[in-house]
Symmetry: C2
Subunit: 406 residues, 2 copies
Amino acid sequence: TVDGGKLWADILETARFGATPKGGIRRLTLTEEDRQVRDWFIRTCEALGCVVTFDSMGNQFARRAGTDPSLPPITMGSHLDTQPTGGKFDGIVGVLGGLAVLRALHESGRETRHPVELINWTNEEGSRFAPAMLSSGVFAGVFTEEEALAKTDRDGVRFEDALVGIGYRGAERCGDHPIAAYFELHIEQGPILEAERKTIGVVTGVQGMRWYEVTVIGRDGHAGATPMALRADALVGTAKLIEAVQSIALKHAPGAVGTVGLLENRPNSRNVVPGEVFFSVDLRDPDDAVIVRMEEAFRSAAAQVASESGLEITIKLVWDSPAVRFDPTCIDAVRRAADSFGYPARDIVSGAGHDAVYMAGVTPTTMIFIPCAGGVSHNEEESAEADDVTAGANVLLRAVLDADER
Amino acid sequence: TVDGGKLWADILETARFGATPKGGIRRLTLTEEDRQVRDWFIRTCEALGCVVTFDSMGNQFARRAGTDPSLPPITMGSHLDTQPTGGKFDGIVGVLGGLAVLRALHESGRETRHPVELINWTNEEGSRFAPAMLSSGVFAGVFTEEEALAKTDRDGVRFEDALVGIGYRGAERCGDHPIAAYFELHIEQGPILEAERKTIGVVTGVQGMRWYEVTVIGRDGHAGATPMALRADALVGTAKLIEAVQSIALKHAPGAVGTVGLLENRPNSRNVVPGEVFFSVDLRDPDDAVIVRMEEAFRSAAAQVASESGLEITIKLVWDSPAVRFDPTCIDAVRRAADSFGYPARDIVSGAGHDAVYMAGVTPTTMIFIPCAGGVSHNEEESAEADDVTAGANVLLRAVLDADER
Ligand SMILES: NC(=O)NCCC(=O)O
Ligand SMILES: NC(=O)NCCC(=O)O
């Protein structure tokens, strides 16, 4: 089993990098705070006898050698970047839980046939650079490295420049890295496990998700002197579309969700009728066909707003991540591991995207969920119990050893 | 009469300071661009024999001496700051039109009993620092200098620091400056004069206006894993309130307007349910009682959204500028001046706020409007005819001389 005390201490120690006054973390990918936690990752993994490398997308790999040099590694991983007002667990539990596994193997002198490797993926959150899971996506061949490097944040900074800027553009070409299996431990980020008092979620797959960028063009006008009838108010049109996303999600399926998370209003001055709004839409459902219908409903709502208001509305699909089912053998290994410890467990489908989604396309993959308080995530108040974190890492350890023995 | 060619050339020359690619101006108050145009104002007025000073709020005064040293100046004025995506005429026509008047007096050697003075007011737009007309408000005793200096922009920069930063915090205490009368030339910023083919608007007053700051507090959540029913989405609540402002304005009076111009969404990440939104509301009507009823309607809409959604909504009234009627003698001077040139004219109430609103509280005041294309203002495409600009400056000249002769 893992050392839960040390694992918890690692969580608290790394929470310093980008700590917010409200007890959360602001550690946007490829920033100085991200560099600090990456440096810490190298130091800490090397102290456990691992060799640490990073690839051309900045993904970090900490490898503990196996006994059979011909075998590719069994891998564990997640991410250390956070949302602008993120918590101390999202992604972090997966990386530091994997570190706890490496520590347990190291301290017990346990040998494995395969190398065991821990991965810290770049830009999982997709908050600074859209879309999410960008670098595992390149690793898996879903995106080209060229398109990923050319992504820009909302200030126009290129991904490549930011990556070079923190010194983490590696020589190994992203994806040139054989892998035998991939396991990712994560907090659920939803309310189910806590509500049902389960310690472990046996993740069978991840729901589908699509991201859109919407631009609404109206006409800047004077807030005092422009009669209501002569306005082309981009923000009023946007308000209708925000409500449309909400009602479309409520209507199309019991589990469907729809969110406008990012919004930029221009020129954003109190006495100017807004002439342009840029916003994002996130639509998800476990059934990809439902997402298609939600998209259709959103497009027709937008067409109606445009025709009623004289606004020009463009909708761009910028990310399409279909629903994924994980590898049955890996799922089984997790289920058996949970049972072996006597942890209460249930099968679950992830509402959040994870690097495991893309890894599932290239190697046997699954995930392990643990509960988080109130199901709250992407929030500075995100919280998880130390015992659950330990339990998750124990299941991860057992599943990795199980895969090694197959 | 004024030299319309030189006046137009001044408009084009100063448009360089903060010129935007789309042909507008971005010259937010107390920025480097504002400093440049202020320096230009000093140079140009001094070349016409004026003495230029500035007060503790950065208001600039260019004085041409009169023959009777005991008399306070007849003043003209407006502002040289712009919106983030402003045009080449809003405010600028008033200052450069006044400059054309000074030039006409200078070049003809015409003597006046009173000094004639041109004022460039600081932060009329209210875009960088709310509220609008801040420094004429301090001049007129509506705001204290202390509260004005302590205002901050959305990045937290203090007004005082920005003013000192560009070198325009003067020694003369704002308001210690006797004035005999105030005339302000401005584009209408609305559609009426153009639609009715009038060259001159004889401005009889300005409608009432109130500004509010609204904060909507919900709970950050994961866009994929938080079920719709468990959300407290501050942006969805805000969308309802944006629509409420729109429908309240449409409902309460034929001329009423309501605008949400500024909106900040937090944490503003594509996959985070927004936990907090800050936005402005601008409500206006020529009848202050209508504004009171609009405010009541908005407050009850907010209370309903809050009770339905579990969001916490706070509304703060940050500016209240009641409707103003200008001085009948000054209005008459403008009407007669327009008639004397044979310019088609009509009485008009201003939908926009102006420094004249506050000056009206301390000295006989009125305004002169000229048409602008399509009534469009606070827009980079704002446009006015050179002939109309000249006509406005001619009326300004005649009205000033009329006041001097009384
Ligand atoms: N796990 C997680 O929060 N990933 C971010 C990608 C997503 O939006 O689901
Ligand atoms: N004239 C003008 O645009 N002033 C800004 C103040 C207002 O919002 O009316």
